[in-house]
Symmetry: C2
Subunit: 456 residues, 2 copies
C-alpha cells in the first residue's frame, strides 16, 4: 500500500539529489527478514535518504548463507559472498551492518570489523546485552562507532531520545513494553479471555511469535533491551546478568480478568529505576491502571516511558518488530555514521550516552529489596471467615491492604478467589507472609502474586 | 520533589567529570520562565550534562530587562546586561540562547548573532514559523547552527525524531496535539461538561492559559508548530501563511458530549499530510476515536503521531509547556551544538531535515479540496420527518452517512439535535449542501461541522 501511495506522488519526491560526497559503502552480514528489509528500504527511499543526509548510502557487499536465494533479492551490482569475514575485512567497506543474529560468530565478526577500523550498525540486542562492554571498549579504542538503535523497540528512536533528546536530565526511571510478542499475547488474553497457551498458539499462527518462543515469553528478550536502556539512562555498564526476569508463561487468565475488574491491566514491563537503595533492573508482568497511556499499547506495539527531572514524563511508541520498522532504525544509524565520519570520537554521542570515563557501576538492588504494591490472589473456602483472618494476619505482618475483591472461583466450585491490592510493601516481607499463608488449611495453595506500578 | 530525590542519591551522581575541552560559552537573551528554568537545570545538572557531553556548558552572560531582578536568579559569575546586542556581539560567546520571545527584536538579534558566526538556540516557534526561511538561509551562509527543539512540543524530542530517527522514511503524515492550553481546555470541557468560556477561565486561573489566550485558543500557536513539523517531515520551506487554521473558541460543549456518545472525542490537531493533490496543512478541532492513543492525551500534555513508510506509526508524548520541560529541549540543543562544533556544515543535520538544495515547495491544497469524514449537527423540529428528508437530500448531493444519532436538544425544548457522521466527502461538496440545508424552515440554522480523522 505504501508503495502505491508513493507511486502516485510525482511532485516533491527527492529522487535526484546532487551528492558530491563519496557514498557511504556498506557491507551487510545476513539477508534474512531484517537484512532484506534494510536493503529494500535503502533502495526504495534512496532519494529521500540522500536528500536528508547529503550523501548516498550504498550496500556494496552482502554475506549470506545461500548465495542463490540472495541473488534473487539484491541487484547484480551488490557483491554476494558466503564468507562473512570477507565483508568485515574488505578495505572498500566503511561500515558493517550486522543483521545475522546470535552472539557467537556475530561477536567475532563485529570485533573483527572494529579492529579493521570499520563502523558497525547492529540490531542485535542479545549480542550487546551480553558482550556490549567488550564491544564498546573495542570501538572506543579504535575510534569507530557501534550504533544500535534497532536493538531496542525497533521503529522508535528511543536510544536517540535517551542519549541526545534527554541529555539535560537526570533520568529517574525507564519503564517499557519492549517485547511485541508478549504484548500481543497479553492483549489477546485480555481481549478474548484466552489462556496463555491458546494465545501463544494464535500468536505463532499469525507470525507474532516464533516457533521457539522461549526468549520472548520468558522475558529474556525484554531483559536484553532493558539492559541497553538502563545503561543509556544511568551511565552504568551493560549488565544483563543482573536483571531480575520473570516471563509470562505461568500467568493465569483469571488474574488478567480479576485485575480488569479492579481497573488494571497486566503488561510485561521492563523497569529500570534509580533508587537510594541501588538500581532496580527488572522484567516481569505488572499491573498498571487501565487508563494509563501504557495500558493503551495493544498487540505487538512497543512503548517506552521515561521519567526525568526536567522533561518530566515522556513516552515513545511504535512497532517493536518487523522488517521495515527495523530497517528504519538501521538506516537511521547509517545516516548518523555519515554525520560523524571524520569527527573526533570524544565529540560524538557516546555509545552508552555517557563519556566512557564517566560510566560507573551502581549497586543493583536485589528483588527482595523492592518495595512495591502487590496484587495477591488466594483461592479460599469460606471466604467470609478466611478474609477476616487473612486481613488480620496481614495487618500484624505489616502488609496493609488498599482494595479487596472476592469472587466465586470460575474453575473450582465452592472456592472463592480473593484478590488483595496492597499498599507499598517490601517484597521480603510479602514473601514471608505468603509462605505462611500457603500453610493455611482453607487456602488452596498460594495462587498469584503480581507487582503493581503507578508510573507517574 | 525532584530535587529532594536527587539530594538523596550519593552514589553514581556524575558531579566531577574531567573535561579537558574548553567549555561552551553561552549567552542568553531573556530570563523569564524559560530562561530561568534553563539556567536552573544547567546549574543543577551540570555534572550529568558534562558527563554525557564531554564538555561543560556555561552561561556566561545574560541580557535582561530588569537587572536587579536577574541578580537574584543567577550567580555573580554571570555577566548581566540590559543590552541584548552586547550578548550577540560579544566575541567571548559561542552560542546565543534566545528565550525572549516575539518576532521583531528577536529576529534582529538572532540574525545579528548569526552574522557574528554564533550558533543560536531558540524555542521561539512564532519567530521560526514566520521568519524561518530567512534565518535558516543566513545560518547556512555563515555555517552556524540554529537549533529549535524547544519550539515544538517542548519536552518531546520530536524535531530530532523527524530529522534523524526517521531519516530512512518517506513521511506520509504528521498529526499532533501540539498546544497544551487548548488540550487542557478540551479535556476539561469533556470531563466536566463545561462550556468553552468556563473551561478557559479555569485554565487561566490554574496557569494553563495566559491572560491573553488568543494565540493558543485561535490555533495560531499550533499552526506555528505545525509549520516546523511539516517542513521537517516533507522537505518543504516553512510556510506559516499557508496553514488553514480554526481554533476552539466556537466549539460547543454539546458537540463534545454528542461525539462522546458515538465513541469519539474532540482534539485540536495540527495535521500535515502529503497527498496526490498537494500538501494538507491544517489546524482545527477534530473528532478522533475515543480509544485512539491520541485520545488518551489529557490536560496540558502534547503528543505527535507520525506515519511513515518503513517505521509505520510512531508516537511521541510529553509535556508541551513549562520552564523545565522547555529547558530540557534548549539544553539538548546546546549539547548538539557541542557535537557539531568544528564540523563541516554539509555533514550536520540540516536545519529543516533536508539538505538546503533538496528543499522544494510543494503545492498546498486548499481546505475546499480536502476529502474527509465529517461530524454534522443540525438542530431540527419534527426529527422523524426531517431526518428522512435530510438523508434523502444528502444522498442526492453525494454525501453518504455512516452513523446517525438523534437526541433531544438540551437547550431548546421541542428541538432535536441530529448528529450525522459522513463517509469521506469532499469539503467543497459538503459546504454546498450545508448552505442549502441552512435555508430549510425546520432546521434551526446550521449548528456544527467538525472534521474527523482515523489516524491509522
Amino acid at each position: 500500500m505504501y508503495q502505491d501511495q508513493h507511486a502516485s506522488f510525482s511532485v516533491g519526491q527527492h529522487t535526484q539529489p546532487a551528492c558530491a560526497v563519496a557514498p557511504l559503502r556498506v557491507g551487510m552480514i545476513g539477508l534474512g527478514t531484517v537484512g532484506a528489509g534494510t536493503y529494500r528500504v535503502l533502495q526504495r527511499n534512496a532519494g529521500v535518504i540522500a536528500a536528508r543526509t547529503g550523501r548516498r548510502i550504498e550496500i556494496r557487499m552482502v554475506a549470506v548463507r545461500h548465495l542463490a536465494r540472495a541473488a534473487g533479492i539484491v541487484t547484480p551490482e551488490v557483491l554476494l559472498t558466503d564468507d562473512p569475514f570477507a565483508v568485515v575485512n574488505d578495505p572498500g567497506i566503511d561500515v558493517v551492518v550486522e543483521v545475522m543474529g546470535g552472539t557467537g560468530l556475530a561477536r567475532e565478526l563485529v570485533l573483527q570489523a572494529i579492529s579493521q577500523g570499520k563502523h558497525v550498525v547492529t540490531a542485535n540486542k542479545a549480542l550487546l546485552a551480553e558482550h556490549g562492554s567488550e564491544i564498546f571498549a573495542a570501538a572506543q579504542a579504535q575510534g569507530v562507532v557501534v550504533a544500535y538503535e534497532g536493538a531496542v523497540a525497533v521503529s522508535i528512536p528511543i536510544i536517540k531520545a535517551l542519549r541526545e533528546g534527554l541529555a539535560a536530565n537526570h533520568i529517574q526511571w525507564v519503564a517499557g513494553i519492549i517485547n511485541g510478542t508478549t504484548n500481543y499475547i497479553l492483549s489477546e488474553m485480555q481481549a478474548k479471555g484466552l489462556g496463555f497457551a491458546a494465545a501463544l498458539a494464535e500468536a505463532q499462527r499469525l507470525g507474532y511469535a516464533e516457533a521457539d518462543p522461549a526468549l520472548d515469553v520468558q522475558g529474556l528478550d525484554a531483559a536484553h533491551k532493558l539492559t541497553l536502556l538502563a545503561a543509556n539512562a544511568f551511565g552504568v555498564p551493560v549488565r544483563f546478568d543482573q536483571v531480575y526476569v520473570e516471563g509470562i508463561t505461568t500467568l493465569d487468565a483469571l488474574d488478567i480478568r480479576l485485575a480488569g475488574r479492579l481497573g488494571y491491566c497486566v503488561k510485561l514491563l521492563g523497569i529500570a529505576r534509580r533508587t537510594p537503595h541501588g538500581l532496580e533492573l527488572r522484567v516481569h508482568p505488572t499491573l498498571i491502571a487501565a487508563d494509563h497511556l501504557l495500558a493503551q499499547v495493544h498487540g505487538a506495539m512497543n512503548a517506552v516511558l521515561v521519567k526525568s527531572d526536567a522533561a518530566g514524563i515522556t513516552m515513545y511508541y511504535g512497532a517493536g518488530a518487523g522488517a521495515e520498522p527495523t530497517a528504519s532504525a538501521v538506516i537511521a544509524d547509517l545516516v548518523d555514521v555519515c554525520r560523524v565520519a571524520g569527527t573526533a570520537p570524544r565529540q560524538r554521542v557516546p555509545h552508552l550516552a555517557f563519556q566512557p570515563d564517566a560510566i560507573q557501576a551502581l549497586p543493583v538492588a536485589a528483588i527482595d529489596a523492592l518495595e512495591s504494591r502487590y496484587y495477591l490472589r488466594l483461592d479460599v473456602v469460606n471466604p467470609a471467615r478466611t478474609v477476616a483472618q487473612l486481613l488480620g494476619h496481614l495487618a500484624v505482618a505489616g502488609v496493609s491492604v488498599q482494595q479487596l475483591d472476592v469472587t466465586e472461583h470460575p474453575g473450582d466450585p465452592g472456592w472463592s478467589a480473593v484478590v488483595l491490592l496492597t499498599d507499598p510493601t517490601p517484597e521480603r516481607v510479602l514473601r514471608g507472609v505468603l509462605a505462611e499463608l500457603a500453610q493455611w488449611p482453607n487456602v488452596m495453595g498460594f495462587a498469584s502474586t503480581l507487582r503493581m506500578e503507578a508510573l507517574n
